[in-house]
């Protein structure tokens, strides 16, 4: 390959393949990769969540006492922060795909995106805040 053609063209490698061209990367690649990774993680987290609460603990034994016991374990709080973060960000990115696919007017797209982003991010912040600051004593005092 002649020298003047090295940029921005990815250099071909003999025997197949090429080098990553300059300028390739960016948000859309990241978002596509994030959807696949977060989807896989969510399968594991959501399955564990479902199996634990519905089969191991059992819905009939589910009360505030169980929640309080679980909450005292920092791992459980970390688990739930991960679950709500991945679930909401995965859903938000999916909603972004749909908005970009089906809302053609640039103005309407900005408005709908702003509303959806705000709703999801406020929900996420509220969820994480509750998980980290929940105080069992308040709950017990209210009984």
């Amino acid at each position: 390959m002649s020298a003047q053609n090295t940029a921005p063209r990815g250099a071909a490698k003999r025997g197949g393949g090429y080098q990553r061209p300059t300028g390739v990367g960016g948000f859309e690649v990241f978002s596509w990769f994030f959807m696949r990774i977060s989807g896989l993680i969510l399968i594991l987290l959501a399955l564990y969540h479902l199996i634990w609460w519905n089969l191991i603990v059992g819905v009939e034994h589910l009360d505030s006492q169980v929640v309080i016991e679980r909450w005292t374990n920092p791992l459980w709080r970390f688990f739930n922060v991960a679950l709500i973060t991945f679930a909401l960000l995965h859903a938000l990115n999916g909603a972004r795909y749909s908005i970009e696919d089906y809302i053609r007017s640039p103005g309407a797209r900005v408005v709908v995106k702003a509303i959806v982003y705000t709703l999801v991010l406020v929900t996420l912040a509220a969820g994480i805040f509750a998980l980290l600051t929940f105080d069992p004593a308040v709950l017990m005092a209210g009984r």
Binding site: P8, G15, G16, Q19, P21, V24, S31, W32
Partner: protein
């Protein structure tokens, strides 16, 4: 000879505001093709029915249309495979020029944007540019594309956004990106990494189902996505 009923979507831009349907009954053998039935209409019943066809043998790709709701080549589909009541409509997602003829120019503009030709500025060798069988197999599937537009016309992402590069253009980019004799993979990947490039693909698989050449289109698009992500392919 059995009678086949055809319901053909019509649109004459000089007269019609909206598409309408005309119904015809023609005699056709079960082993005739839908194109034969359309030809019977055009040649013996109604010469105004308009559609594209050229080679009539599944090679030129000019008679892709919706047959009973599915994108097919009229010259490859037998009457016995679609029944005796057949609805024929133009491809979705394209502007209808007349009846079954759609404006393919946006499709070919997207095709041209991915540099669908070999780029190699090395000195021209005395003989051909040799390639191993294994390296050729890497992109063999995507060489089969005949640019009929059945895939792009079946793609919901394309219906929603006509600026989406579309499966056919990605297939033809794949054909050269994974060709080790080619030197412009980076330019093609940069084009496909744009906002209207491969990332608009939602992995719906309509293109793969629609392809009359049975190209594994969704897989090819996935390979292009991974090539952008990882920045490297091996043959």
């Amino acid at each position: 000879m059995p009678t086949v009923k055809l319901r053909v979507q019509r649109f004459n831009p000089d007269v019609d505001r909206e598409p309408r349907y005309s119904e015809y009954s023609v005699e056709a053998e079960p082993t005739d093709r839908v194109l034969d039935a359309l030809n019977s209409i055009k040649w013996y019943k109604d010469g105004t029915v308009t559609y594209r066809r050229s080679c009539a043998h599944g090679v030129c790709g000019s008679d892709a249309m919706r047959i009973n709701g599915v994108n097919r080549l009229a010259c490859k589909v037998l009457i016995r495979d679609v029944g005796n009541e057949i609805t024929v409509e133009p491809l979705l997602g394209f502007r209808v020029v007349k009846d079954l003829v759609v404006d393919m120019e946006p499709f070919f503009a997207q095709y041209r944007s991915v540099l669908p030709f070999l780029v190699n500025e090395d000195p021209t060798p005395d003989r051909e540019r040799r390639q191993s069988i294994a390296n050729q197999e890497r992109y063999d599937d995507t060489t089969k594309c005949i640019l009929c537009g059945a895939c792009t016309g079946a793609c919901p992402s394309f219906w929603a956004d006509e600026n989406f590069v579309g499966p056919a253009a990605i297939v033809n980019a794949h054909r050269f990106i994974f060709d080790d004799r080619d030197h412009a993979a980076g330019e093609r990947l940069a084009r496909l990494n744009a906002r209207e490039g491969v990332w608009r693909c939602r992995t719906i698989f309509n293109c793969t189902e629609a392809c009359p050449r049975e190209i594994k289109i969704t897989q090819a698009i996935g390979e292009v996505k991974r090539a952008i992500l990882y920045g490297g392919v091996t043959s």
